[in-house]
């Protein structure tokens, strides 16, 4: 947290509210201001992104160096992978989306604050606490004081994690546990803010897609997070108070854990991707100069995936000996295609025949849609129990969920970082560095996860049809996979170089960036494409009619348009003949 942020923020803050609070470090620590808290979230996320990425680079390099281990130990490898996963899932994507929820929600809704500002502050410092506790054993281990951090994977299956005699296990459970508790409060806060603090003139069907995606994200968070607290709480009790839940020889059931954990695990994935998808929907619509194609179907699709996500948890457990219930979970898993399919369709149709401004946020947003196609098509093989028999626990899974979490979830959030950076700091980022970041990230990440999928499918160059197994510190069973790992690691480094440019840009532009109020204003001038966080309230969502009228020069930006606007269109009228003017 640099002083630049503080000053950058103060300037902005000054002309919105009068500020009489403490200064210096107390300013950050005591704050209940949603904007300051949003920035605290943001810096936590970026810091953790660096840590998690560094961990990934280290074990990625180790994998490429030799089929057997090169410089990590077996346990060290498992540990680094586990920490990478926990960091990225809990301390990067969640805080990054939280940053935008905090900063942007009140602006979108016309509220002066979040519903519960103190709860909000608690959420921010929960990230610090969780991150510090998770990484303490890492530091301890490097100093030779403690064992390794958790080495049981992010899913933490007992009895493996109850048997591991390391302080790292408890640290992971307690660290994530504290973060999960505060996150539950934050999720409730975000949800209630949308529910209660909305501008009275803003109806549900006026909400920009980002707000709708935020609603569903936080409903899913509220539903899912208690499950992980249950599961890990029981593990903690078993480890520390000798209670028995999951130990078979003492009468427990190891599978019980998986039922509880995956009830959390699947909705959690949607908590990770929905914010990014919401931002991408905002950005694609505005930067294509077209209103969202099929706004209501889009909202319905998010509702479908959110509901469906609560009913598919057992597709993570097809190999555990489930019998006929797999048919039901397969049907639910396939139903998810409907929801994400409509999202993809809506985004592509919005871009089609639009006028695309290839700015950095737009490039990341387009990648979200491409990433979702990869992720969904890979994921089909895990929703189907028959193909899961072969692909379970191969790198194909690794490729699939990285496509999901990174190219959909993270890319959408990166689009948000660039889109709103000027709004949050008052300064423009360096566009060359940003384009370099976009280029290396899109090429590097897609190449990286593509190679993972190829390794997992046994189709990587030189693999000779052998599948790379997941969570393997070594691949002594098939040394010919080294070429595939080498290519994968090269892509990882390409992506890493881009992230360096990203960090540099974020920090440097705080001081050196051009001062701007709305850099997108010029792109959108003459169009009726308002967004409340930039243009303020009152806000009426852009519709086919309002956009057309603005293009004809007839309507001021933000002005309300009569539903029967009667505009000529160079597109054919609606095919089913029901010309409802308010339809978007």
């Amino acid at each position: 947290m640099s002083t630049e942020t503080a000053s950058g923020h103060d300037e902005e803050h000054g002309h919105e509210h009068e500020h009489h609070g403490p200064t210096g470090w107390r300013y950050w620590l005591y704050t209940t201001d949603h904007k300051v808290i949003g920035i605290i979230y943001l810096w936590h996320a970026l810091f953790a992104f660096g840590l998690g990425g560094l961990a990934a680079l280290i074990f990625r390099t180790d994998l490429a160096a030799a089929p057997d281990l090169e410089f990590l130990s077996l346990l060290g490898y498992n540990s680094l992978v586990s920490v990478h996963a926990l960091t990225m899932i809990f301390f990067v994507i969640l805080p990054l989306s939280g940053a935008f929820f905090n900063y942007m929600l009140p602006l979108f809704l016309g509220a002066d604050e979040m519903a519960w500002p103190r709860m909000n502050a608690l959420g921010a410092w929960g990230i610090t606490a969780g991150l510090a506790i998770l990484y303490t054993p890492m530091v301890g281990n490097l100093l030779g004081l403690t064992g390794v951090p958790t080495a049981a994977g992010w899913f933490q299956y007992p009895p493996l994690n109850t048997m591991m005699n390391s302080v790292g296990q408890d640290a992971a459970i307690v660290g994530i546990g504290i973060f999960a508790i505060t996150s539950t409060g934050s999720a409730a806060n975000f949800f209630v803010t949308i529910l209660n603090e909305r501008d009275p003139d803003m109806g549900w069907m006026d909400l920009p897609p980002f707000v709708w995606f935020t609603v569903f994200t936080n409903v899913l968070a509220l539903y899912s997070i208690p499950w992980v607290l249950d599961a890990w709480g029981m593990v903690w009790l078993e480890r520390n108070l000798s209670m028995t839940f999951f130990t078979a020889r003492a009468g427990g059931d190891p599978l019980l854990y998986q039922w509880i954990f995956w009830t959390f695990g699947h909705p959690e994935v949607y908590v990770l991707v929905l914010p990014g998808m919401g931002i991408a929907a905002e950005v694609i619509s505005r930067f294509s100069e077209r209103p969202i194609y099929g706004y209501k179907p889009l909202i319905a699709s998010v509702a479908i995936v959110s509901v469906a996500s609560m009913g598919v948890w057992a597709h993570h457990m097809y190999a555990t000996g489930l019998a006929a219930s797999r048919y039901a979970f397969m049907v639910f898993s396939m139903a998810i295609f409907l929801g994400f399919g409509v999202y993809i369709f809506s985004m592509v149709a919005t871009m089609w025949k639009g006028r695309l401004h290839l700015t950095t946020p737009m490039l990341f947003s387009i990648s979200v849609v491409v990433g979702l196609l990869y992720s969904g098509m890979d994921g089909a093989f895990f929703g189907q129990p028959a193909t899961d028999l072969q692909f379970h626990s191969t790198y194909f899974v690794v490729g699939h969920f990285h496509f999901t979490i990174v190219t959909v979830g993270l890319f959408g959030l990166l689009a948000g970082v660039y889109y709103w950076y000027p709004r949050m700091t008052g300064r423009m980022y360096n566009t060359r560095l940003a384009k370099f970041h976009a280029f290396t990230t899109i090429v590097g990440m897609f190449g990286l996860f593509f190679m993972m999928a190829m390794l997992g499918d046994g189709t990587a160059p030189g693999s000779d049809g052998v599948m790379m197994m997941r969570r393997y510190a070594t691949y002594i069973y098939a040394p010919q996979l080294q070429l595939g790992h080498l290519i994968t690691t090269v892509f990882a480094y390409v992506a890493a170089v881009g992230q360096l440019a990203f960090f540099l840009n974020m920090v440097w532009s705080l001081r050196a960036g051009d001062e701007v109020t709305d850099p997108w204003d010029e792109l959108f001038s003459g169009q009726n494409m308002p967004s409340p966080e930039w243009d303020g309230l009152p806000y009426r969502p852009p519709t086919a009619i309002s956009v057309s009228q603005a293009a004809d020069g007839g309507v001021e930006v933000g002005e309300e348009v009569a539903p029967d606007g009667g505009v000529e269109s160079d597109e054919p009228r609606d095919h089913d003949g029901a010309g409802d003017g308010g339809e978007r």
Binding site: N78, A349, A512, S548
Partner: protein, 329 residues
Amino acid sequence: MAFGDDIGPVVDERGDALEAILWGLVFLFTFVLFVIEFGNGVIEPEEEGLFPIATIIDFKQTMFLSALIGGGLFVALIVWSVFRYSSGVRARASRMAPGQGRFTVTMFVIAVLIIMSTTIFTGAATLAQTDEATPAAAAEQLGAGQQIHMDVTASQWFWRFDVEGIPGTQGERVVVPANTLVVFETTSADVIHSFAIKELGITKDAIPGQTNQAWFMVDHVEGETQVQAGDQTLAADRYEVHCAELCGKGHSKMLAGVFVVSQEDYETWAQSQGGEAALEPTGVGGGHEDDGGHDEGGMEGMDMGGDNSSDGGMDMTPTEDGHSEEEDH
């Protein structure tokens, strides 16, 4: 401002044709990767004569093909949009007609529903023929006249195989006969492991306090490796056994090999171990049993397996057959 001075306009786009082409190429790259990834799955070689993988691959290829066409189409549309509709090559956006989305979205939803239900029914049929069938139904489907039982026990970090009829426990490798349905029960002595033979399409968790059953069959031996039975050298094929669930630090080295030899050779091998080849009849008609013993080139066996898995697969209603099989016993 040193950095900001020489970057030109603050607006983050060039707005020329070069920009559209450059970024179009970047997204074309993702399209090419998409075609390679999913195209490779479509042209994956058949594994005839290996159960259950042969059945799974049939289904897998269909899935890869739908993904390639359905997903590839949309990636292609995105790439085209970037090339063709970018601000550098286009003066203004086409207008959207009010209510325009209704018809196309409905059509799209119907298309997705059709593809979804096709996948659901084919997937269910594939599952019913492979992992969700009973061993007896699988034997019927494959025409396997004989079966053998094996217990697989996992512990940190090795496998133990107790095959019926063979005294003692086999460790780093286990020998099983070809043309015989190998039915195994797997469990664990400590943490959760998973018994996986990816080449055969087998993944079954080994869970403490629980026994999971599955089965596989190889109907030909190509003789790419050997098994030593006393002073005799027998032709065998090796299938790699993996642990497919993180089980601690030795996880990636928890490997073993399943060595498949012909039924005749299996008897020789069993005798050399001081045991016997404990093959049980499955009750399936005897026509195929005789094929088992002598697989010189493996061609005969491969043809047989291929035929059976395809026509047996389509005509069969697995659950019913499974029940009738059990009643016969």
